[in-house]
């Protein structure tokens, strides 16, 4: 039995097969009435949460910084794409992918600026800069009449379908995996372990940090764009410190520096918060309580610092297994 699972874990065709099967299932489920709307809503939410969680894990887990501003990037992506599809090129489903890309690009651009500005700071002070960034973004939307002020953007076409969510989730995980196992990924992990030593060994700390930030904020923006076109209205309050806290909970629940952990954390969080919905306010007592208990007994999260071998590129596993 153990042998069977070991061979299954080593099988290089499992991952592509799962992706194809998932994509086919997404298309079928979207077009035929096999799932009710609520189930579809929860599945799409789970996909968006996986993108958010994996992209934040790049900065908070692999790079070891503590960013609390991920909801701000989500907000930028959501607003940019919503303005794109409601004001600039309305009523055209064909431009939806462009609007998602646009949302990601805007978030990545601002993420680049933020990374440039905050390069001198690290640790807790970086956390505070991202907090200030989050609050500034929220406050800025409230004061710009063009994007609806405190009322937000209404009447966005609900164009986020299951296949699109699945597609973007796979793209995000694939991109982050390839980044993490590249030269830049090694640099990012080295920075987490010891920034000064990494610098002394010739790691280009500045470039690696900025790249990690830009990729993370790009996918934060993509998730925001999908979110906006899922619930079809957004306001500045949708992306506040509570939203950021939720993403942090997912990351540290699933485990730092682990993509499998991100998937697990996001899925557990999504389904638990739906399942505990009847409890009302008690839901937000029980979820943090579980997190605190998890931190006390398993400080790095469920899958912290570990990875499913399917998610590790082939050449890496061969390298590690070589004598």
């Amino acid at each position: 039995m153990r042998e069977f699972f070991h061979r299954l874990a080593q099988n290089r065709w499992i991952l592509p097969a799962l992706i194809v099967a998932g994509f086919v299932f997404a298309i079928v489920a979207q077009n035929f009435p096999i799932l009710n709307n609520y189930t579809k809503f929860v599945l799409i939410t789970a996909g968006i949460n996986i993108i958010l969680c994996a992209s934040l894990n790049l900065v908070n887990g692999y790079m070891g910084e503590f960013s609390v501003g991920h909801a701000g990037f989500m907000s930028l992506g959501a607003y940019a794409s919503a303005i794109f599809t409601t004001k600039w090129i309305p009523d055209s489903a064909a431009f939806f992918p462009v609007s998602v890309l646009f949302g990601g690009a805007v978030a990545a651009g601002i993420g680049f600026l933020l990374a440039l500005l905050s390069f001198k700071t690290r640790g807790d002070y970086l956390a505070i800069i991202t907090l200030a960034f989050l609050m500034i973004v929220k406050s800025a939307w409230e004061n710009i009449p063009y994007v609806g002020g405190p009322r937000g953007v209404l009447g966005i076409d609900p164009m986020t379908t299951l296949p699109w969510t699945f597609f973007w989730t796979v793209v995000a995980l694939w991109a982050i995996r390839n980044l993490v196992y590249s030269k830049f990924g090694r640099a990012i992990t080295a920075i987490r372990e010891d920034e000064i030593a990494a610098n002394a060994m010739g790691v280009r700390v500045r470039e690696a940090k900025i790249l990690a930030f830009v990729v993370s904020s790009f996918f934060g923006g993509v998730a925001g764009a999908l979110f906006a076109h899922q619930i079809s209205f957004i306001n500045p309050g949708s992306f506040d410190i509570v939203k950021s806290t939720e993403i942090l909970v997912m990351v540290y629940l699933g485990g730092v520096a682990s993509l499998a952990g991100s998937i697990l954390g996001a899925v557990i969080f999504t389904f638990l918060s739906q399942a505990l919905q009847p409890l009302g306010y008690w839901r937000m007592v029980i979820l943090p309580l579980m997190l605190v208990l998890l931190m006390l007994f398993r400080p790095r999260g469920i899958l912290g610092m570990r990875e499913l071998s399917w998610l590790i590129p082939r050449r890496e596993t061969q390298k590690n297994n070589a004598p």
């Binding site: 800069i129 929220k138 007592v285």
Partner: protein
């Protein structure tokens, strides 16, 4: 409730001067509350190098504890007694949280302590929300405020009380930290936590004391805030707590005097922005100020960079 004006000293200031002076008094009131909360963040950071995200919620509980105490106790207690009881309760709660949630994680990954603190804050906030789903009113007979006018500026005795109590607490804290053996032990832990136990200092007791004092100051701030803005809700822990955290950072987190400076600075900026600009710009400008200060002074106004050893 707008207190009645009982005395009016003849005014000679021009209109804009009266307005500015009036807003300055308001800024002092808000600033002293921010400073009291910011002290709690800074003290804990000083000894444990950890952001205690549950501190804002302890501040909120200060207001609720005051309300519940006044409602539950049959006697009409004087203000000072209620204040001391609130400080005692919230202080012990701070010690309890440190004992249960933070101490087991000391020595582990630093981020997990921060996440635990966030979780504790959420638990406190939402438990309060379960008990009090609607906004509550602070008792009005605890301190009956009157106001007088001085050169055209209206000042209430409540404002004087808030500023005065905060000032007394801050001076007492400064005395504790600079002049007593306990304060010396706190400063020693913040200077080098590893060596302190070797010198025979009970580090755990000193850390508990730090949490007690920090939380008690936060509880006092919550009570004063509740008296100044008498409609209280569980969400004020996040709203005001994060602001006070920013005040601590602007001053340089870990620095006691920096926290006070940051508190008054943030109070002044917030009040003046609302006084002279549209009120929706308040958060935009105070957070932009934070960002600008951190870009040019990465460790706050009075903070010092940590010693990094390879």
């Amino acid at each position: 409730m707008i207190p009645a004006v009982v005395a009016d000293f003849a005014g000679t200031l021009p209109d804009w001067g009266v307005y500015l002076a009036q807003q300055s008094v308001n800024a002092l009131q808000l600033g002293s509350i921010y400073a009291l909360i910011a002290l709690g963040y800074s003290m804990v950071y000083g000894v444990l190098v950890m952001i205690n995200f549950a501190h804002g919620d302890l501040f909120m509980l200060g207001a609720f504890a005051c309300m519940l105490l006044v409602a539950a106790l049959p006697w009409h207690l004087p203000f000072v007694v209620v204040l001391l009881m609130v400080m005692l309760i919230i202080g012990l709660l701070g010690v309890l949280i440190e004992r249960i949630a933070y101490r087991p994680l000391r020595g582990g990954p630093r981020v997990s302590a921060v996440i635990t603190a966030l979780g504790c804050g959420l638990i406190i906030e939402n438990l309060t929300l379960v008990k009090f789903p609607y906004s509550q009113h602070m008792p009005t007979d605890l301190f009956v405020s009157t106001s007088f006018r001085f050169a055209g500026v209206t000042i209430s005795t409540l404002q004087l009380l808030i500023i005065g109590v905060s000032a007394i607490l801050m001076v007492a804290l400064d005395f504790l930290i600079q002049k007593t053996r306990y304060g010396m032990a706190m400063r020693a832990i913040s200077f080098d936590a590893g060596t302190v136990p070797l010198m025979g200092i009970p580090a755990n007791r000193i850390i508990s004391l730090t949490f007690f004092v920090g939380a008690a100051l936060g509880g006092a701030a919550g009570m004063l805030y509740g008296l100044a803005y008498p409609v209280i809700a569980p969400s004020m822990g996040i709203l005001v707590g994060w602001k006070a955290f920013i005040a601590a950072v602007i001053g340089g987190i870990g620095s006691i005097r920096g926290a006070v400076l940051g508190g008054f600075l943030l109070g002044a900026v917030e009040v003046m922005v609302v006084a002279y600009l549209p009120s929706t710009y308040r958060d935009l400008i105070s957070y932009s100020l934070l960002l600008i200060i951190l870009i040019f002074k990465p460790y706050g106004l009075l903070g010092s960079p940590p010693n990094v050893k390879v």
